[in-house]
């Protein structure tokens, strides 16, 4: 078990290094000489200042050395400076990280719970109107752009019905404390979390349904039936448990897409997370910040993949740790 964990961590670190190197070359691809751009952003573009900047950031040194400096910087969590926001990139990201984690984790839980529930129902009543309805619903949500679900939710629940707040993390100036604050944040969280949740729910519904139907035909289910177990027990203990494995794997692999969903949803709902930060960086063409967010997102996905992988192996004892 331990050697397996170590192996996975080493692999993750290698991928992270590769992403940082990719990032380094992406920065070099950005339009303009970085020193001139930085000087311009700082509001003083005379020759002396540009030269100083070049020396400070090592831009006058050979490329491999620059790469080394860059990698070293990122590993000590120095992601550069955002001249537009007048703050270190790492500080900006850390400020916004909790909101994004709250949003994506809630959305992830919603999508898994609803997806498995609907998928199980559809498989249990395969071929009936319920199955058709669930499959159709999953197909529609699977084909709907995330940002459009978000806007339609605002149109329905904020503009027409006036039930839920349409933007932000909590009511500005309300100064709620304790439980009232939790409720306030919850009310702001429902729509963004449901937006991402519904989109991914569609995938998990389809996957659970297909997987349940496949497991249902296997011999051990027939054996269970022959033993005279009730349908409910067979569905829950034998079919669902085995059918969930591919769904959990898929869900773990989906965290990368979850981040993409966060960018769109946070933009629409003005949710103060790193997705929104990425959008702000994009609009202001703040490349340092943009690539900083990108590296942090990639690292988050790597960590999450590692965790799901470990959980998965614990849930399913058949998998060898050395694999």
């Amino acid at each position: 078990m331990l050697s397996f964990v170590a192996q996975r961590i080493v692999k993750g670190v290698i991928v992270l290094l590769a992403i940082i190197v990719l990032n380094f070359f992406l920065i070099r691809l950005a339009p303009g000489d970085p020193a001139v751009v930085m000087a311009g952003e700082a509001g003083a573009s005379d020759q002396v200042f540009v030269k100083q900047l070049r020396e400070k950031f090592g831009l006058d040194r050979p490329l491999p050395e620059q790469l080394f400096i860059y990698v070293k910087g990122i590993l000590s969590f120095d992601l550069g400076f955002s001249f537009r926001q007048q703050a270190p990139v790492s500080k900006l990201i850390l400020e916004r990280l909790p909101a994004t984690l709250l949003l994506t984790m809630t959305a992830f839980a919603i999508s898994l719970v609803l997806g498995i529930l609907f998928g199980t129902l559809a498989a249990r009543w395969a071929g009936t109107w319920l199955d058709t309805a669930i499959t159709a619903m999953a197909l529609v949500f699977y084909a709907t752009p995330l940002f459009w679900i978000a806007l339609m939710a605002i149109l329905l629940f904020s503009v027409t019905l006036d039930w839920l707040p349409s933007f932000g993390y909590e009511t500005i100036g309300a100064r709620h404390t304790g439980f009232a604050r939790v409720l306030d944040i919850g009310a702001h969280l429902i729509m963004p979390a449901m937006t991402i949740g519904l989109f991914f729910m569609a995938t998990y519904t389809r996957m659970t349904r297909a997987s349940m139907l496949e497991v249902k035909r296997l011999d051990f289910v027939k054996t269970a039936r022959a033993k005279g177990l009730s349908d409910r027990v067979i569905q829950r203990r034998h079919v669902l448990r085995n059918a969930l494995l591919p769904v959990v794997t898929l869900a773990g692999l989906h965290t990368g897409t979850l981040v993409g969903g966060a960018v769109l949803t946070e933009t629409v709902f003005a949710w103060p997370g790193i997705g929104r930060l990425m959008y702000e960086a994009l609009i202001q063409r703040d490349y340092n910040l943009l690539l900083g967010v990108f590296v942090v997102c990639s690292a988050m996905v790597l960590i999450f993949n590692l965790v799901t992988d470990l959980v998965y192996r614990m849930v399913d004892p058949r998998i060898q740790y050395s694999a």
């Binding site: 339009p31 940002f147 339609m152 990368g256 993409g260 769109l264 959008y279 990108f294 990639s298 993949n305």
Partner: protein, 279 residues
């Protein structure tokens, strides 16, 4: 072929998908010829509600531009980007997957690590970064979508090639001294085609979603109108004018739904064995 067509037609959802896709293609090809009005031109007063004037059936946006014209002209961009970026992703993924599966060993290992690397990176975030850095244009959008969507192709093709390589007719070709390239192109890939076709149709749908998301964030080609751009532009005035965001979004939803249905129909028709399992 005839049996394939019959299979496809017997499947009601596949047929619905096919009708939607054919209609979308028709709109994209002939629409702009029938409605030559530029979607950028002001034709009426701003915020004209839909269904009030027959000349502007879906109303106008904040600058008095025709929403209907935008949807017609936007179809071209969405479908074209979807198609071209999928072709580009296939052009990268198919050879890589074929080489990995055919040669195996270290080549396979190296290529698959490379593929996994691209699968780990959050794809939408990478697409955003790429388009922002290369500057938004139809070319950078196509390139970015292709770069984030080729890995599944490579993995699929690799798997197919891996199993086809051991077949007797491939062994026979090796014995008769055919070159590796000839064997891959003429013996193996044609037989690995059907799952690739299914995947490609689903990829076009995903590519359309990606393109619309990029344009929604303001990363669209500034010279071309697209559905995602229209939704993004209407977002800030959604309280006054719902129609500016609703109709282009419906257009995206319908085309993506149609393509997904076609993909599933193709899957059922091309792999009948698998299809029956799903029932």
């Amino acid at each position: 072929m005839r049996q394939f067509a019959r299979q496809m037609l017997r499947n009601p959802s596949g047929l619905i998908g096919l009708i939607i896709v054919v209609m979308a293609i028709l709109v994209a090809v002939v629409g702009p010829l029938i409605f030559p009005n530029s979607p950028w031109r002001m034709v009426q007063r701003p915020f004209l509600p839909p269904f009030t004037l027959s000349a502007v059936p879906l109303g106008t946006d904040a600058l008095g531009r025709d929403v209907f014209a935008g949807i017609i002209h936007g179809a071209r961009v969405s479908l074209l980007v979807g198609l071209v970026s999928t072709l580009a992703a296939l052009a990268v993924g198919v050879p890589l997957g074929a080489i990995a599966g055919y040669f195996g060993g270290r080549v396979d290992d190296a290529l698959m690590r490379f593929t996994e690397f691209f699968q780990t990176i959050p794809s939408f975030a990478l697409a955003i970064v790429l388009v922002a850095i290369l500057q938004p244009s139809i070319y950078s959008i196509v390139a970015a979508i292709a770069i984030v969507s080729w890995p599944p192709v490579a993995r699929l093709v690799r798997g197919e090639v891996l199993s086809l390589r051991t077949r007797e007719y491939v062994q026979a070709a090796i014995v008769t001294g055919q070159t590796n390239r000839w064997i891959i192109w003429h013996e193996i890939l044609p037989n690995a085609l059907s799952p690739v076709i299914v995947l490609a149709s689903l990829m076009i749908a995903t590519a359309i979603l990606l393109e619309s998301s990029l344009s929604f964030l303001g990363l669209g080609d500034p010279n071309l109108i697209s559905w995602g751009y229209m939704v993004g532009a209407g977002r800030t005035v959604i309280r006054q004018a719902w129609w500016i965001t609703v109709f282009p979004g419906l257009a995206i939803l319908l085309s993506v739904l149609g393509l997904n249905l076609v993909g599933e129909g193709l899957n059922d028709a091309l792999n009948p064995r698998l299809a029956r399992q799903g029932r």
